[in-house]
Symmetry: C2
Subunit: 188 residues, 2 copies
């Protein structure tokens, strides 16, 4: 660790604020700091103690997002099975990111943050697609960058579908993976 450790209390408050920020900003990227503080069950003053300026909070959210995303990618164990199978697992793991998915879509310029480009391991994804192209489980006519767009769009569709319709999380995940699988598969 380069930075000094925080007390348990501070670390907990910090996480509460980040979590609240993700939830609130995913619904409204222009939300005020007061809204976020309230959602975190914290005074606005306290929020400013942890993140002096709005941009600091946003940077914190990006960092937290990158961390969660990388954890999910690791959990997907992309190096085993066919390309399509790995993609299927990745889909399921990313789906669990929940609000973060909405946030990524609601505020694309957050993803434009330099930290995102440098710390998120896109290469793993492209590797999976290349493997899928080679082993015949992924349509070679669909480039890797396009499939990345498709995957995210589909995940977002699933998450917002979950919010709007009265269906179970599991059921929606089934729809998402089935749809992605169909979109990706080689045509006869």
């Amino acid at each position: 660790m380069v930075t000094t450790e925080e007390s348990g209390s501070r670390a907990r408050t910090r996480q509460a604020i980040l979590q609240a920020a993700i939830e609130v900003l995913s619904r409204n990227p222009a939300a005020s700091l007061a809204e976020i503080a309230t959602a975190a069950g914290v005074g606005r003053t306290t929020l400013h103690r942890y993140f002096a300026e709005r941009s600091d909070l946003l940077a914190g959210v990006v960092a937290e997002g990158v961390t969660r995303l990388n954890r999910a990618t690791r959990r997907a164990r992309l190096d085993s099975g066919s390309g399509a199978e790995a993609l299927h697992r990745l889909c399921a793991e990313y789906f669990e990111l929940g609000d973060l998915l909405s946030l990524i879509f609601a505020d694309p310029q957050l993803v434009a943050d330099p930290a995102w480009a440098t710390e998120v391991c896109d290469d793993d994804f492209h590797g999976v697609v290349a493997r899928g192209h080679a082993d015949g489980s992924i349509d070679p006519a669909l480039p890797s960058t396009w499939l990345q767009s498709v995957l995210w769009a589909q995940l977002y569709a699933g998450w917002s579908y979950l919010a709007e319709h009265d269906v179970s999380r599991h059921e929606v995940l089934g729809l998402v993976t089935r749809t992605v699988a169909g979109a990706v598969a080689l045509r006869r």
Copy 2:
């Protein structure tokens, strides 16, 4: 017509403002009115003459969006061919909506506008899917509401892909339709 006709000049300015609003808001839903006015090549004062408050402008944008959407739906001639074929044409027509697609995604609460629910003909879409379920061209495991989410998500993916990568409009439309076709098709 219930409302009084406007002079040619006024109608043109009004359209310029609405078009600029769609373009600017699709990139940043929190854009200021000054930005929109500048993009429209119009003074802020003039903008206020056409739309007294911000909410009036947003209502105008929604109305314009509904109009364009309905025109596109009509152009798709949903009543001919198989369900999947009709969906394919709808996809192509909606893709031409361009910025409007981004706007619908960038500001979902705009679509929550009551005018949207009442004036957009969702029934036509559900009819197409039902036909596709019946004629075997659309997987019956995928409900109509879900396919609606999928279609929009895919269109948005295509449009943002176009903005980020150096590919032709036509090429992207090909990717979108191919992907949607695969996602929708019945599994073997």
